[in-house]
Amino acid sequence: MKITKDEVEYVAHLARLDFSEAEKSKFTSQLNDILMYMEKLSQADTVGVEPMSHAIALQNAFRDDIVKDSLGHDLSLSNAPEARGPFFRVPKVIE
């Protein structure tokens, strides 16, 4: 087993996801299959190989600092599930 049900629960919490018991069992088995497949990578010789993050290596992609109009409150809040005044509204964060 590459991944246990406990680990699935822990990773789900990190990802801010909830699963039913049935989903947890299904995911544990599917993730195991997928992670077993990934094992293949251990056969590749990568000694001294720099990890690659982007296909085209760009450095310091600067542009001129020109002030432009921004979206503004109304447009920024126009898609909000809940807003009040100039704020996004959420359930309570602290006791």
Partner: protein, 485 residues
């Protein structure tokens, strides 16, 4: 003459000759949509009123003699590119009501070139899939066989072009999501070099792999679309400040004297026999054009799938953290506190495949596993890129099948994620290396399903791909078949 069946360049000739108006063309496209959309379901949102208004405006421009490359041409957009004032759902419940306050750069550029948008096309949720079966808005069917999938994730954009429900369309390709559905629907699809087309306004899946590209009815249209969308964008820091050639200049050049690499790792057992036969015919055709086909090796090919299914989910798990029910989209009701709201919203808002990939990605990036998965995958990715660099010292372009099989049956691979992932086996290396690729139709299976051939070239050599694909298309003289809808 049925206008919606024509290509961009054919319609442009009619427009310039005064033999068709944009309003006529848009009318013809929407009549076709009325006729077949109930069976194919290429679109999530239609922009009918907008399209007719824009067509009328294009007709004013045409009268005034102001005709640009795409003036008056109906084009469909994958529902992953932001359209100001038009819903952009990414095929997901969590964005079912998202109304972008801005246009993606590619949308702005198409508008500038005169295009008229027909609507937003269906796709796998967040572009995660190879069959367009994971969309929250229902499946899209393959116009060639309604019991089969159109490929994915840009299945709606491919099906819309194949079914003549638009003239051309835009898709996005993270591991084959343009080329594979293009092959399975019998149309042309190109994934440009990473950095060639701005991703500003493209909803992110895996930021180091995502790229926007066109679906068209022939290679000439592909060149016309690439002319419209390619180029540096100061709002997108990974877009590359390089001059863009006129891609239509590559169309007539031919490939006499070229060397075309045939990688042994892509011509393997397990490929559908009809696909293998079609590939042999492509090789014969290319040689008939004066090119030499040479055997090459891309030795790290066997690792591509594993590398991709670590890197793409890892980047996705980070990109999709923004969907939290606060700023836009769906929010679950009845939560006790903020953490509870996040979990309820994300659990109800994402579908199974998206959650599966967020889980894989979160696991691969979590403490203690980073070196074994993400770092290792990024190292092997460098080796895969090096394979291509070595190969392109020995050949001008590479030929492979686009997909190992033709379109499979709806539901066939939904319960087996690994089998589904294998349908991308010939397309993902391109994204990992950042090189451009094109899929062109190259025949049909005995059952009458389309087959695609894929050509690959070095970074920023889209022109070469247009050149070889155009030469092949002319020489192959493929049977002009249309889906029987």
């Amino acid at each position: 003459m049925i206008l919606n069946r024509l290509t961009i360049h054919e319609l442009q000739n009619l427009i310039r000759a005064g033999e068709a108006t944009s309003s006529d063309i848009v009318q013809s496209v929407f009549e076709r949509i009325d006729e077949v959309e109930g069976r194919v379901h290429s679109y999530i949102t239609l922009m009918k009123e907008h399209a007719f208004a824009e067509a009328a405006r294009a007709d004013q421009d045409i009268k005034a003699g102001k005709i640009k490359a795409l003036t008056g041409i109906p084009i469909a957009l994958k529902d992953i590119v932001c359209t100001k004032g038009f819903l952009t759902t990414c095929g997901s419940h969590i964005l079912h009501n998202y109304m972008p306050p801005y246009d993606a750069t590619v949308v702005e550029k198409l508008k500038e070139a005169g295009a008229v948008f027909t609507g937003k096309t269906n796709m796998d949720e967040f572009a995660m899939g190879s069959s367009t079966e994971t969309s929250y808005f229902g499946i899209t069917r393959n116009p060639w066989d309604l019991d089969r999938i159109p490929g994915g994730s840009s299945g709606g954009s491919a099906a819309a072009v194949a079914a003549d429900e638009c003239i051309a369309s835009i898709g996005s390709d993270t591991g084959g999501s343009i080329r594979q559905p293009a092959a399975l629907c019998g149309v042309v699809g190109m994934k440009p070099t990473y950095g060639r087309v701005s991703r500003f306004g493209l909803i992110a899946f895996a930021s180091s792999l995502d790229q926007i590209g066109p679906f068209t009815k022939d290679v000439e249209d592909c060149a016309i679309m690439m002319n419209a969308i390619a180029g540096y964008d100061p709002r997108e820091s990974t877009s590359v400040p390089l001059a863009v050639p006129d891609y239509t200049e590559f169309l007539p050049r031919g490939i006499d004297g070229w060397k075309v690499g045939i990688p042994k790792e892509y011509f393997i057992e397990g490929i559908d026999p009809d696909v293998s036969e079609a590939m042999q015919r492509v090789i014969t055709t290319i040689e008939g054009l004066g090119a030499a086909c040479v055997g090459i090796s891309l030795p790290h090919t066997e690792y591509c799938l594993a590398v991709y299914y670590i890197i793409a989910p890892a980047e996705a798990s980070s990109n999709l953290a923004r969907y939290d029910g606060v700023k836009y989209g769906f929010r679950s009701q009845g939560s006790s506190d903020l953490l509870d709201m996040y979990k309820k919203t994300r659990s109800a808002g994402f579908g199974a495949e998206v959650k599966r990939r967020i889980m894989i990605g979160t696991y691969a990036l979590s403490s203690g596993y980073y070196d074994a998965y993400y770092k290792k995958a990024s190292q092997v990715r460098a080796l895969i890129k090096r394979d291509f660099e070595d190969a392109f010292t020995r050949c001008d372009a590479i030929l492979t099948p686009t997909s190992p099989t033709p379109a499979f049956k709806i539901g066939e691979k939904m319960d087996d994620p690994l089998q589904m992932y294998l349908s991308d086996i010939f397309t993902i290396s391109t994204n990992l290396a950042g090189i451009p690729g094109i899929s062109v139709p190259c025949g049909f299976t005995r059952e009458g399903l389309p087959i695609g051939a894929q050509f690959l070239a070095g970074h920023f050599e889209e022109g070469k791909l247009i050149q070889i694909a155009s030469a092949f298309e002319k020489q192959a003289n493929l049977e002009k078949r249309r889906p029987n809808l």
